[in-house]
Each structure stands twice: as C-alpha cells, then as structure tokens.
Amino acid sequence: MMMSENRYSDFTLQELMAVAAAAEIKDGEKVIIGTGLPLLGGLLAQRTHAPNMIAIYESGAIDCKPLVTPFSVADPVLVPGAAMQGGLIDGLGIVHAGDVDVGFLGGAQIDKYGNLNTHVIGDYYSPTVRLPGSGGSNDIGAGCKRTVIMMLHQKQRFPEKVDFVTTPGYFDGAGQREKMGFPGDGPSVVVSTLGILRFHVKTKEMYLESYHPGVTIEQIKLNTGWDLKMAADVKETVRPTPEVIRILREELDPTGIFLGKN
C-alpha cells in the first residue's frame, strides 16, 4: 500500500484505521478509549481537529493528557496531568450515567446488527476458545451515546449471529435497544481491516460504506458471514494526508509499538 511521494505519503492499514477512528470524534466530545489503535485514534483526533476532546479511561482517569503513549488502560502515565483520577466506579459510572459521547469497542466476533462477542467461541459451558469476557465493553456498549467498533475483518469474525452476545449492538434489529432503555444509542460505525461499515438508519443492519485502498468489494463480501449490503454510493475510504501520518508516526508512536516499525 505504498504510494509515496515523500516519506509520509504512504500509509499502512493500521495507520488508515487509526485515522478513520480519529475522524469519528468531534471536538469537545467525551471519549472512552482503550489501548492500541483506538488510543492512537483518540490521541490523533486531539492533536488535529478535536483539541478539546476529553479522554476517559475506565480505570477512572478523566481528561488525560499523557506525555507518553499509555500501554494499558491502567498505565500510570495516564495519571499525572489528568483532570481527575478515581477508580472504576468513577470511570464507568459516567458511562453508565450516559455522560460519555463516544466509546471504542472491539471483539472476537461481530454480527449483522453490531452485537459483539468477547466471551466464548463455541459453547459457553464447554468453550472451544474462552475469551476475556466483557470487561467494560458491555457497559460502554450500553452507556455511550455512540460506539466506534474496530475489527479484524475475517469471515469467522463476521458471522450472521455471534456465538455469545457480550456487548449489545442492535440485538435482532430496529427498536430493540429502545425497549432496554439504555442511555446510549448503539454502534455508529465499524472500522474494519477491509472497510468502513455503518448501520442502516431504519433496519439497523450493517452495510458497507467504503472499502480501503487496495481492497475490493468482493473481498469484503467473501470475508463477511452474511449477504452484506452496500451503500448506494459505496466508495474508497478517504486516504490519510501525509501530515496526519507524520503526527501518528513521529509524535504518537515514535517507537512503533502500536503501529509496528515502518
């Protein structure tokens, strides 16, 4: 995926995803971010179009401005300079209360309606693969005004139905979240390794909005476990600008821990 003019005009898939994640955040929003790509997306948004974004960690760190990129949601680098430091009840309490605008999520499986599985592959009581469990994921999926989901796009990870619903998307379709009375409105976007997907405003079914540079629609369909619908104007994902790539590499991940060495 090299299309270099200068050293920042190329980009990797991970960089593209971090940039796409950043684009989902509006200035001034309260955002609960984990580690890895969402974290880079959040930091990038803060350095570019969303300087007043408030970064929140479930560990109870609120409005963090770490000098070093944190490795964990409980990394001690989050604390100095934070506006407030409490514990889980503080960090997730404001999510549960509906105060947080955006939450980042991921998982081993996602289905047609954006439900996520981070519990088991196979049977709950005798799992083929036992996964971590919810952590704060279910809380974020229920409480944040909207969620941004980042996924490795493979067929077994995009089944029509997940093996276990850990974190609510739209359950079986429109109207079901409303019955639950969640503070949050549900998934807004899936940034996958192949494209960007959103949810139909009426049916809440996931559809393809754009395919990443170098990826074909056919490839995406083959890697999705149901008959994935397309946006009428499905197009290529917007390419990151060299300046944004420079910030990512040089300022946010100078050691290449998150993005890998280029």
Binding site: G93, P127, G136, G143, G181
Partner: protein, 314 residues
C-alpha cells in the same frame, strides 16, 4: 485491645486465608499484591472463589496452581499481551481442574462491591441487559442477576446485581499505618469499594508509615483500619505490575510469563523459578536482581513527580 496487625505475607495468608473462601483480589492491572498471591500458591490453598472486576496473570497463576474452583469477574486476560494460558486451559480443557465462572461486566462488578460496602442489598443497572450474560449462570443460578421492571414507572427493566461481600480481600497499596489505615493514590481501580466490601482485609504496602503521616492527609485513606486484619510491608510487592510513585510495570517480565506459560511445562518451570523456588518477596527481589541486573531493576523505579501540599488547617 490493641491488636498487632503487622506481619509477614506468609503469616497473613496462613492466618486469614482458608480453603474454600471467597476472596476479593483488589486493584485493576496495577498494585496487585503478587506477594500475597504467591504466598497463597506456596501454601497450596484450595477451592478458592476469586472475585474482581478484572483479572490478570495473578489469577492465571492461582488457577495454574490449582487454588481456584470459581471465578467471579468480568475479564480474565492480559490486555495487549494476549490471553492467559492457565485460564484458557482450565476453561477449555479442565486443566489442572475445571473452573466455574460467573461472568459480569466491569461496572456490574464495581456496583456489586459498592453495594457490599454500603450494606445495599443489590444494585439496578443497565449493564448486562439483553446480553447472554443474563442467560447463562453457574453456581449462583437465578441469583447471579435478576431482571426487574422499574417500580417508579419508567417502563424500563433493569438488571439487579446482588451485593458482593467476600470473606477476605487483599490488595497492595502505597502505604498504611500499623493499624491498617490504607492510603492509595493514582488509579484506584476497584478500590476503595472492593476492599471495603470484604469482611476482613489483608493489606500489603510499599511502606508502613506512622499514624501521624496518615492523619496529615486523611482524604487519601481508602480503607479504615478496623477492617484490616494484617498489614504486610513488602516493597515491590506488586511487581510486575506498577505502583504509582514507586515503580512502573515490568512489561518484559509480564511478556516473559505470557510466553513461558503457553505450555504446562513452561508454566511449571516459570513458577518453580519465581514462586515455588523463592520463600518471600525479599528473596524474589534478590533473584530478580541476580537474574536481570541492578540496572534493569533500577529502571523500573518511578521518576519524581511530586504533588504539591495542601493546607488542612482550621
């Protein structure tokens, strides 16, 4: 009347942790009392139920050692480092023993502890609703979580999660006095409510300080001494996790554990070396320095980023 609470990890575990107990292990990816965890393993405690919103390798080591029958948690994993191998072996293959688990969310667990600490019988939450965590339970059956329509007429149903009040809890913190008044700063994780919810608490600290030091800044106290049955002074007690103001996490060592524990043999070798083969935390630290060098050890130590002082005068 004055009870002597200062003791070694060995003595604390031997006196206050019995087979079959329900145990809260405090904190959240940081200030985990590895010294107490390792002592439990060395003393071969059995049939424990372990409770925490989120568990890391400390749970994995307890599971691998066959100490655990049941887990109450929302997360057992090692973040970006990957999966915990003993946990997966136990859940997927029943090795070394089958484990039952009650799956909650982080907030639901925090709410269960909050309820326990305040004598509130249960908490109505939005967490878990509609998820498969509502469908499946283990030994708690229907008392894991119950749905109830809001009696105040909103029309919404809530998930009721019951108060959690473990028999004993243990946690690592920056400091405490001899009476067990515990002070913590930085990320509090599941503290203060996790430990306050316990019947008894073993606290491990970097430093035992005088009551006067505690009394000069009483807002930093997370747990009053009356619940504390043992105060253990073990510097670097939460290595390889971090303790704000004292040392950072030792990522290399965490990664080493994750790598070596991929096979049962590898896990056993690691444990023989770092847990069974050492007698206490001081011994562990000596071995760490002998193995990795003083320079590496020093590199973990925290920089100075001191808070300012505030006036408590009247």
């Amino acid at each position: 009347m004055k009870i002597e609470k200062v003791m070694s990890a060995k003595e604390a575990v031997s006196k206050f942790i019995d087979d079959g107990m329900n145990i809260a292990i405090g904190s959240f990816f940081h200030t985990i009392a590895y010294n107490i965890t390792h002592e439990i393993i060395r003393q071969e405690k059995k049939h424990l139920t372990i409770c925490a919103p989120s568990f890391n390798e400390h749970a994995d080591q307890l599971i691998g050692a066959g100490c655990v029958d049941r887990i109450v948690s929302s997360y057992v994993w090692m973040e970006v480092f990957g999966s915990l191998n003993c946990f997966r072996r136990a859940m997927e293959k029943g090795v070394p023993n089958k484990i039952e688990m009650e799956d909650y969310t982080n907030f639901a667990m925090a709410a269960r502890f909050l309820a326990g600490s305040l004598g509130i019988p249960y908490m109505p939450v939005h967490s878990m609703k509609g998820s498969d965590m509502m469908k499946y339970s283990s030994w708690m059956g229907e008392n894991k979580v119950r749905m109830m329509k809001d009696p105040f007429g909103s029309g919404v149903e809530h998930a009721l999660v019951p108060a959690l009040k473990p028999d004993v809890g243990f946690v690592h913190a920056q400091r405490a006095d001899e009476e067990g008044n515990v002070q913590m700063w930085g990320i509090l994780g599941d503290a203060p409510y996790s430990v306050r919810a316990c019947q008894k608490v073993i606290v491990s600290v970097e430093e035992i300080v005088s009551r006067d030091v505690i009394g000069r800044d009483p807002n930093r106290t997370v747990l009053p001494g009356y619940k504390v049955v043992a105060v253990v002074e073990d510097p670097f007690g939460s290595h390889p996790k971090n303790c704000q103001g004292y040392y950072n996490a030792d990522r290399d060592f965490i990664f080493k554990y994750i790598q070596e524990s991929r096979t049962e043999e590898g896990w056993k070798k690691f444990m023989d070396e770092w847990v069974y083969g050492v007698s206490n935390r001081a011994d562990y630290l000596k071995k760490y320095i002998d193995t990795f060098g003083m320079k590496k050890f020093q590199s973990l130590k925290a920089k100075d980023m001191s808070s300012s002082s505030v006036n408590y005068g009247y």
